[in-house]
Point group: C2
Chain length 441, copies 2
């Protein structure tokens, strides 16, 4: 099979003509054409190798042979819909259940994180019979109409805020309303959610769900203060609502120490609904909602079938099972902890404390006191790293966070290379030069 | 690879415990466990073969080796997201463009028909800057929150009708408000849409889109009267709205004579947006929205990126391309016409006229004059055919239509077998016995 059908300029011309321009390219002024990949490496049409610090979806590594093998074997056998009985879907649900708190034992399989979050909204509405949703500022939960409504990151630029959506401050102890010097930021931020609930009630409305990424990413790589989620869940449940943990980016061992990022909040915390997606199928469209028997029961009680044409088909589930196997066999969670910790250590000069594995944000500011986002400098780092054949992206409301979320097979040597290159770039003259960089983990 | 991991009763017990009960099984009182499939045949755990008249998703046949080969080859090479340049996505868009009217030449790739219809809603809203949507009665456009809102089939049982949604009569000349004896049902039904538009305007509201399946399926296998869509599009565009053709079930040659079911309306008709899904990836989660440069341009102009994590990835597109190749190489569109026509001929005793390929509905009534739906009889036919190892389903608002939408490799012999079995069943005593059956094609 030829690796290229068209010359790069032709591909680009066809893309401009045939694909909606809202679908943006990385490095839009000089996009990269990738024709093959393996592990944590991407190869362009000239065979040039890029170190991939972007592709969190290709979780166990690009083109992992075990995943391809599992897909091929099942594709040769059967790919029917889930209205027929099949072992893969139940085996996969059983394996996922083992990673979650006991109460989360009912599963719905869908095709994308967006489909999962939309279904979570429906489950919450049906169970609580309430309408209103509380989300964190800057949150992004997906591209569907219903999810733009609950994503301040999007609705502020588009349709505006609906009357049933309420935004709580993001619990960011670096840049938010309560900072490192606050004696108890977890409680203080949880109380802001309590205040939102009170305001909802004053309007004669009722809370259906609190929706939050377990480690807000677009919001700026925010590690929720420990104890925050437990307290919020208590307030939300008292108001008759449910706690939805969006693990679409952060699940499946990304954070190293735990399988799910919500587990960073401690053993006493369990969400009522968990949504998963990106890394789940290593690139195959596969996502899921996990919930309690009570919530699933209320959804069934409406008497209306939920049918997802492709969701939970034998091929998707075979791939999902293979991803779980590789995470275990190759100890990718351990690798994430070790390599993520090492990268953090190399980037921030200080010995690292708690890490969140291979989900690292390097926040750049032009002004240490005011913490003014160094957006341009971050963009320059991305461009300069591209010249060194290293792919990274920026994140956060001000795009001043250089983000590392590579395939989980990322090695110590890869981390050293990235850290060396970044140190080199930061000793150059960037315009304006960032005066401070700190790792947010 | 073992075909079974668990005994059937164990699979069923795990399914009941682990999978949301809203996800229903076929033959729920005695479900079928399928472990492998090939072409138009399904095999249960005992090796018993079922003739599959249900799986329209496995469009070119279950486990087609060309599709598996294309998927495997691309999975071994690369599966990155569409922010990197790649040939497959542009080649695939180019191939799809060749099947569509010239003006539909901008594509967005997504993961499911539901994601496609949700994006179509967003495109229409953004382009028209209007809010209201007109749909046909009994329509079903998907499982997402936004689509339940525009699906009378669902919202009547759930959230009720939103103020921005308007329902037009389904143009059913057998059972609707204008019937076979009407001199011009196309014009009469189109005028009902005009009436709805007038009412929308009287409320001071504006029409964003008219949304319709090109051959309404859940609505009762309705062949739109010729000329209807052209006239409706004229009215809708005059009101500043767009015409969305939902081809999720009916595209990719299913109707035999044409690649898209909207083409049954004649060469002078073109929708503004076409959504596609189910058969597109032969079971792989792959869907698409096609639209005009003007509509795509308006969507880009809002300045907000549309990013679909899995949409348009190289593996999905390789599979989509392979499906197009197989449809052509094996002349599946021709086969659909020939075999669909033969099935129709065998089922309705009369020589067949226009057919719509392998998308056949056999409507059963207890009363020829009143056309009272023979719901129970249709259910009995489904059960009896299952005993003969033939899988069919029912469709329509009264579930009195026995539906045939098999993989497109369905043969003349398969059609004869099904027709023989149905004739045999219908000569038995069913309770109550249907007095009439007619094919809706």
């Amino acid at each position: 099979m030829a690796l290229e059908m068209f010359r790069k300029e032709e591909t680009l011309a066809m893309r401009k003509k045939l694909i909606g321009q809202s679908c943006r390219l990385f490095y839009s002024d000089d996009p990269v054409k990738i024709v093959r990949a393996r592990g944590q490496y991407l190869y362009d049409e000239n065979g040039k190798r890029y170190l991939d610090c972007i592709s969190n979806v290709q979780h166990v590594g690009h083109c992992h042979p075990s995943i391809t093998q599992a897909a091929t074997t099942q594709m040769e056998l059967l790919n029917a819909n889930s209205r027929f009985l099949h072992d893969n879907i139940v085996q996969y649900a059983d394996r996922l259940a083992a990673t979650l708190p006991d109460k989360l034992r009912v599963f719905y399989f869908v095709n994308s994180g967006s489909e999962a979050n939309d279904l979570a909204l429906r489950l919450a509405h049906q169970y609580t019979q309430h309408e209103d949703v509380i989300v964190l500022d800057h949150a992004y939960h997906g591209h569907l109409t219903s999810l733009i409504d609950i994503s301040p990151y999007k609705f502020q630029k588009l349709t505006g805020q609906k009357e049933w959506v309420h935004v709580a401050p993001i619990p960011d102890i670096y840049r938010g309303i309560f900072r490192e010097d606050h004696p108890n930021p977890a409680q203080a931020y949880a109380d802001t959610v309590k205040d939102v609930i009170d305001k909802v009630h004053q309007k004669g409305r009722k809370v259906s769900a609190f929706f939050s990424e377990s480690l807000p990413s677009v919001g700026g790589q925010i590690l929720l203060p420990k104890g925050y989620s437990t307290k919020v869940a208590e307030y939300v449940r008292s108001a008759g609502g449910v706690f939805v943990a969006d693990e679409v980016q952060t699940g499946f061992g990304r954070v190293g120490s735990h399988f799910w990022a919500f587990q960073l909040q401690g053993d006493d915390f369990s969400p009522d609904i968990v949504t998963m997606g990106k890394p789940m199928g290593n690139g195959h469209p596969l996502s899921c909602v996990a919930t309690t028997a009570e919530i699933a029961g209320a959804f069934t009680a409406n008497g209306v079938e939920y049918f997802n044409t492709f969701g939970g088909n034998p091929v998707s589930c075979a791939i999902g099972l293979a991803v779980l196997d590789v995470i275990e066999k190759e100890d990718l969670r351990g690798n994430s902890s070790r390599v993520g910790g090492h990268l953090l250590d190399r980037l921030q000069h200080d010995p690292f404390g708690d890490t969140v594995g291979l989900f690292v944000g390097l926040e750049m500011v032009t002004d240490k006191e005011q913490r003014t986002p160094a957006t341009d400098a971050a963009a320059q780092v991305v461009r300069r790293l591209k010249e060194e054949y290293i792919c990274v992206s920026t994140d956060g409301p001000w795009e001043n966070i250089v983000k590392f979320k590579p395939p989980m097979c990322f090695s110590m040597e890869d981390a050293d290379l990235v850290a060396d290159r970044i140190h080199h770039i930061l000793t150059e003259r960037l315009t304006p030069n960032p005066t401070d960089c700190r790792c947010k983990c």
